[in-house]
Amino acid sequence: MEERSSQQLVGGFNRRQASAVSAVYDKYQEYTFDMASTLVHHHPDATDLAAEAFLALLERKERFESIDAIRGFLYNNVRNACYDYLRHGRIARRKLDELAYHQTLIQDDRADKETRQAWRQIILQSIELLPAKTRQVLMLHFNEELNTRQIALRLGMSEKTVSNQKSDGLKRLKAIMQASGTSFIIILFLLS
């Protein structure tokens, strides 16, 4: 029943009917606002960014297949808009042409990747504590950034096994890191 009504909602939204649009807005207004304000840390601009995401949603010509597609569109739109906003400021962003826009995104992505290396080290340290097989799989996954198929080929295991090892390893890794994190917070508490 819920699936049906969400289908009706999407259908109504595709025809841009007032009630459906208003329902979609009710459903995701807080979501987009939360996202924008978490990403840009500035409320007035977060308000604008969230509103612009809804306008972009309405102006999109293609039909949406599901309510998740609508949410996905909003997510990507807010994310990219906030990214541009932080890199270039609102006014600069509007003047950027399409090509420059894509180029900066790629460059920023690379810079982001480099900064990630710092905490990547912590993950690698924790992986050391895992059993040999799981460790091998996660090392290849995080360090060499191989996908499941490539890992399976490298280690001579089936893809199923690799994916099981990986999800199992991720769970253990989380447990290890949370355990050490707790002591970390206690230290933090003692220090303050």
């Binding site: 109504g12 025809r15 841009r16 009917q17 007032a18 009630s19 649009v21 208003s22 807005y25 207004q29 807080e30 979501y31 606002f33 939360d34 996202m35 304000s37 978490t38 990403l39 409320h43 308000t47 969230a50 509103a51 809804f54 306008l55 309405l58 102006e59 994310r79 906030c82 990214y83 932080l86 920023d108 982001d112 900064t115 990630r116 710092a118 905490w119 990547r120 912590i122 993950i123 924790s126 999800s167 991720l170 769970k171 890794l173 989380k174 890191m177 949370q178 050490s180 994190g181 970390f184 917070i185 933090l188 220090l191």
Partner: protein, 314 residues
Amino acid sequence: MNEPFHIRELVFKYNQHELGPEDEIELLAWRRLSPENELYFQEEISPARREAVRQAAAAVKESNYRRIVAEYPLQPDEAPVIRLPRKWVFRIAGCLLGAVVLYKILTFDLDRLTGGSKPAVMEARFTNAQGIEQSLEDIKNGFNDGRAARQRDKARRKMPFLAAPYDTSAATRGFNTMVTYEHGRYLMQLPDESYCWQNVNSSVAYPVNFFRDTPKLRVTGEVFIELPRKSDLPPFEVSTGKISITAFATVRFSVRAYPKDSAVTITAVEGQIQVKSDSSVIMLQPKEQLTLSHGKAILHKDVDIEKVLAWKTN
């Protein structure tokens, strides 16, 4: 920007419970990188901060919506269409079908199987030359000279049909008589393949040995006669009271002569007919109507044929 953009995204996902297992580990690792990171994270997920975001979102909700709607015109809502699930359409159709079948069973006329003992309103009566009444059903079943095959065609005229019986060996100059009552109209096909529509309360008498004697119909009440489209037939005579009508091939005409009217009306629909009364002989052209009353004859031209023949279709 103190925290990488990617981490802010992960924090948002954390608050929305959308964090994947790998995202989770990445966020955990980042938190462990420095106490500031952990503090930032704790602040971002704190109930007070969540509540502040909720309130800020609620505060701009209305004004933002007005802004969006002002920039993008929306379509008015369509009237809600009530669509039944397919399953229910079949169920309802099944119930209706069942109800119709049940109704048919309950109201089934047993008399039709047992031969009909139900007293019916007398519609018409057929009397032969000896004055003996004959059942119309018997005539229909027992008399078949090939004309019955045409019944299907004539049945479209929605009137009970009778192929008039005759006897070429009859020595007498008797007449068969077909009488209709208050509720009966009948279409009779005469042996020469002419048709005679009889309105209610009318009688038509025709010679038993139709082909030997001059075809002469005695009529009271109202009839409409259609002669066959053949040119080699003898003149066709209809008499009512002291008036006689003579028609030749390809003629359609109606006669209305109810005794209570004290007037006789003759209307030619197609072809010429000759009307002979005590005092005059008149030729009627198509769409002409002659009314004879108390020895006076009135001729109407261009009459409305459909109005005259309305009883035939009703």
